[in-house]
Amino acid sequence: MTRKRPLTASAAPFLILALLFPTGTACADPLPQPIAFPHMVHVTGYGFDCLYCHSSADKSQYANIPSVWKCMTCHRTIATDKPEVKKLAQYWQEKKPVPWNKVIDVPNHVYFPHWKMVNAKVACLTCHPGMEHAWVAEQKREFGMGMCMDCHRIRKASIDCWTCHY
């Protein structure tokens, strides 16, 4: 029995670390959404500019999820027979917002101003690769500080701590 004691000591911190720092950002499936919104159809199919829906990406910290009203400006007449569009119409009729599940998030200690990136001509797909082909929104590139730093170094943007952490 005494020989097994070191095993206890090695297992416990491992467990604690595992619980403290979950590494599973690479979940197999995209998050289910109340409406299966296909970026594929809108961006690749019809060539929508990202800023048409995410209209505050060049003005604000947040890129903005379009209001139900904005979706309905087109879908009052377009594709009204599709089951997913019917769901949308239902929300509009009930004057309820669509409760989207949040796909992309950065930790609270990071300040990420979308407008600075967009105005510095960083393409949206740099950080959100493959979004134009997504049938359900999914973040394919993992956000880590390294990724930000690489880009900031290449573009000679500030790498001062306070640039993003304040």
């Binding site: 097994k4 206890t8 979950p22 505050s56 903005n64 139900v68 599940n101």
Partner: protein, 730 residues
């Protein structure tokens, strides 16, 4: 001890957590707008300019709005009244907007009126009830409609005034417990203009204050405080001096260079004493035309005689006269306490006489009367509906209460924050009188003592959710403030003006012709968008601010002596039975009581006593010692008209034999934050003002104190003797 089985279990759990831990993260949601607010950018704040509605001062505000929610209120830097500043009461409007107890829909009284039982009804039902009553009253006896509100300014006042006129009822009454009746009468007597004077404090070199409270609650405290700051510190070579006479060390008095204590109600005597010295010693400028004042009765106010009556030393009076007349431009300002006693008009007139004698009237740094009604000149005789004089309306309310009792009125419309059932003296028996009116409808955001007495309560939006315009009583510079909704209304509320406009359209005939607008928004848009005016710019700036100064109204040349102070009616109140003079003053935080339902204002420490959440009675420590009272003791305060309890708070700067109390606490109905915080000092006041003043007699009463055990405690922010006193730390 860990065996092999346990180790494998632990290891497995750890591996599981490592692999799938990420998927166990709390799932977050993003909720988009259904209909986005106009102009909003997510994460970016928008600032909308509007008008403050927390007191009658009429400041301009800007409100920070994020994602359709108001977050912070500040002063509008472009606005001539407050020039970017705002007081605590203005800031607290935010809490009224989000208040849990705000009425969320129309309500009908179920059970007897005033019982506090309500039944929610739809707007359709409420309006049909209102219209049925209005139509009946108009068909049978239109003059039996009473409208009792707080003073309304701008087009809201025009809508209310025209509605009543077209309806055929002359009974439109506006009630303001702190109306400036005495000051208006005094200005008419001395300067020949019945209006509030504009005191140019910023450019004055010397300030004489007679119970002035212009830095806390009086007329336009933010305006005067901002100007006072400039008087003290914005000029390179001059730092204005400030001398204060009064019975109580108030916040304004505490800001003065010298505070000279006087007996309560003797402000006018002191002012005449100073005039006496000035004329005797030839200090007044020749242009002041002071010639025959001595013969007209000023000779009776020699410094020695004044010292005997007021307690101010003759040498101090002589020094004040020398300094005041030697440092012109200077101003003499009387405050609430100066004008709300038996000798109110006399006191104010005596103070204004100093302004008339100073030779600075009408000049920078002096007193003047900018024409307030210029902005509404196009309305001709109706101007007074848009810019009414800031009177209390006490006589009209008393008259209306009498008529209610006689059954003259068949219907009453109640509105505004002045809450007559709370602020009127109990002897008037307002609630009982109102019960004789068969139908009462109240427009209110909260259920207070007055709206609780109605049959029907219609919720109104807060000032931050309404359209309107306003003109400030002082400091306006000819500017009109515009009010616009900075957020979508939070509750199912409609403004009184909107309801009156809709009612007028339905009544048809004369009413519909007098009020041609569809809504208040329509009214503002039609009035402020046209040749030479652009509504968009006006809304962005927060008002129409003319570049030229408002023309000054002509003042009387030469000085006149105020009429004699009325003698106290002999035997009215026995000083033996009621040994202390009552001194009521508006609370810095709660004003007349309208702020009492906001916890932010309740927890705002009083600047002098640092007390909060409850009311108190201030006593001079020596007076208290003589009566065997200690700081914090419970007392019963009895006047011939009522009896209340409060805790004693020492104010060493208060004149002996005076009991001073702030107004505003003592609500029986006004929500959780307001109820159960002491008793109402207004209930100590006599019904009829004794003497010449026509407003509430805040200083005219006498009281007796008796020690009483109270279950409560007075909460204070700092120790009454100073929190850093060594003995408190040891």
């Amino acid at each position: 001890m860990l065996d092999r089985r346990q180790f494998l279990k632990l290891g497995g759990a750890a591996a599981f957590a490592t692999l799938f831990g990420g998927c166990e993260k709390t799932r977050k949601q993003i909720i988009p707008f259904v209909l986005p607010p106009e102009n909003q950018v997510l994460g970016e704040a928008l600032w909308y300019a509007s008008a403050c509605g927390q007191c009658p001062a009429g400041c301009g505000v800007v409100v920070r709005v994020s994602e359709g929610r108001a977050k912070k209120i500040e002063g509008n830097p472009l606005h001539p009244v407050n020039r970017g500043r705002l007081c605590a009461r203005g800031q607290a409007a935010l809490q009224a907007l989000y208040h849990q107890e705000r009425l969320s829909g129309p309500m009908k009284a179920s059970g007897p009126r005033g019982s506090g039982n309500w039944q929610p009804v739809s707007w359709e039902e409420a309006l049909s009830l209102l219209m049925t009553r209005l139509k009946n009253v108009r068909a049978e006896a239109p003059a039996s409609l009473l409208m009792l509100t707080e003073p309304m300014r701008g087009h809201e006042g025009l809508v209310a005034g025209r509605f009543m006129k077209a309806f055929g009822s002359p009974h439109r009454v506006a009630w303001d417990p702190f109306g400036r009746d005495a000051l208006l009468a005094a200005c008419e007597a001395v300067h020949g203009v019945r209006d509030l004077p504009e005191y140019d404090i910023a450019n004055a070199r010397y300030l004489l204050s007679f119970s002035g409270d212009f830095l806390e609650t009086w007329v336009s405290p933010v305006h005067y405080a901002e100007a006072y700051g400039r008087m003290r510190g914005s000029r390179e070579t001059v730092r204005g001096k400030f001398l204060h006479f009064g019975p109580r060390l108030s916040m304004t008095a505490a800001s003065a260079d010298r505070y000279l204590q006087i007996a309560p109600g003797t402000e006018g005597v002191v002012a005449l004493g100073i005039s006496h010295v000035a004329i005797r010693d030839g200090l007044t400028p020749p242009a002041a035309a002071a010639g025959n004042l001595m013969a007209a009765g000023l000779s009776a106010y020699s410094p020695e005689a004044v010292e005997k009556r007021t307690g101010v030393r003759a040498s101090d009076l002589a020094r004040a006269a020398k300094e005041f007349f030697g440092n012109q431009p200077g101003l003499a300002i009387g405050g609430t306490a100066c004008g709300s006693g038996a000798a109110g008009v006399f006191n104010h007139a005596a103070v204004e006489l100093l302004n008339a004698l100073s030779g600075s009237a009408g000049l920078p740094g002096g007193v003047s009367f900018p024409d307030r009604s210029r902005a509404y000149a196009r309305y001709g005789a109706e101007r007074s509906l848009l810019a009414p004089p800031p009177e209390s309306g006490y006589a009209a309310v008393r008259d209306a209460a009498g008529k209610m009792r006689k059954g003259t009125f068949r219907m009453a419309i109640l509105a505004g924050s002045s809450n007559p059932a709370f602020t009127l003296p109990p002897a008037m028996k307002f609630a009982e009188a109102l019960s004789n009116v068969p139908f009462a409808v109240a427009f209110a955001s909260f259920l207070d003592e007055t709206s609780s007495l109605a049959d029907l309560v219609l919720p109104v939006p807060t000032p931050m959710e309404t359209w309107g315009d306003d003109i400030a009583p002082v400091g306006h510079g000819g500017a009109v403030t515009l009010r616009q909704p900075v957020v979508e209304p939070f509750r199912d509320a409609r403004s009184m003006a909107d309801v009156l406009l809709a009612a007028a359209a339905e009544l048809g005939g004369e009413s519909a012709r007098a009020l041609p607008w569809k809504s208040m928004r329509d009214c503002i848009e039609k009035n402020y968008d046209g040749p030479g005016e652009r509504l968009e710019k006006a809304l962005r700036d927060g008002g129409v601010f003319p570049s030229d100064a408002a023309p000054l109204r002509a003042m009387r040349k030469g000085a006149v002596l105020p009429p004699k102070a009325p003698r106290e009616a002999a035997g009215a109140v026995d000083p033996g039975k009621y040994p202390l003079a009552l001194h009521l003053y508006p609370s810095t935080a709660l004003y007349d009581g309208r702020g009492a339902n906001l916890p932010w204002l309740q927890e705002l420490p009083d600047p002098l006593t640092t007390a909060m959440w409850r009311n108190w009675v201030e006593l001079n420590p020596k007076t208290a010692e003589r009566m065997g009272l200690a700081d914090g003791d419970g007392v019963t305060i009895a006047s011939p008209h009522g009896k209340i309890t409060a805790h004693v708070a020492f104010n060493p700067g208060l004149a002996p034999d005076v009991a001073a109390m702030p107004t505003g606490q003592g609500h029986s109905r006004y929500g959780r934050a307001a109820v159960g915080r002491g008793e109402n000092p207004f209930s100590l006041l006599p019904e009829a003002p004794e003497g010449g003043a026509s407003g509430l007699a805040l200083q005219a009463g006498r009281v007796a104190l008796e020690k009483t055990a109270l279950p409560t405690r007075l909460v204070r922010f700092a120790h009454p003797e100073g929190q850093w006193k060594l003995s408190n730390l040891m």
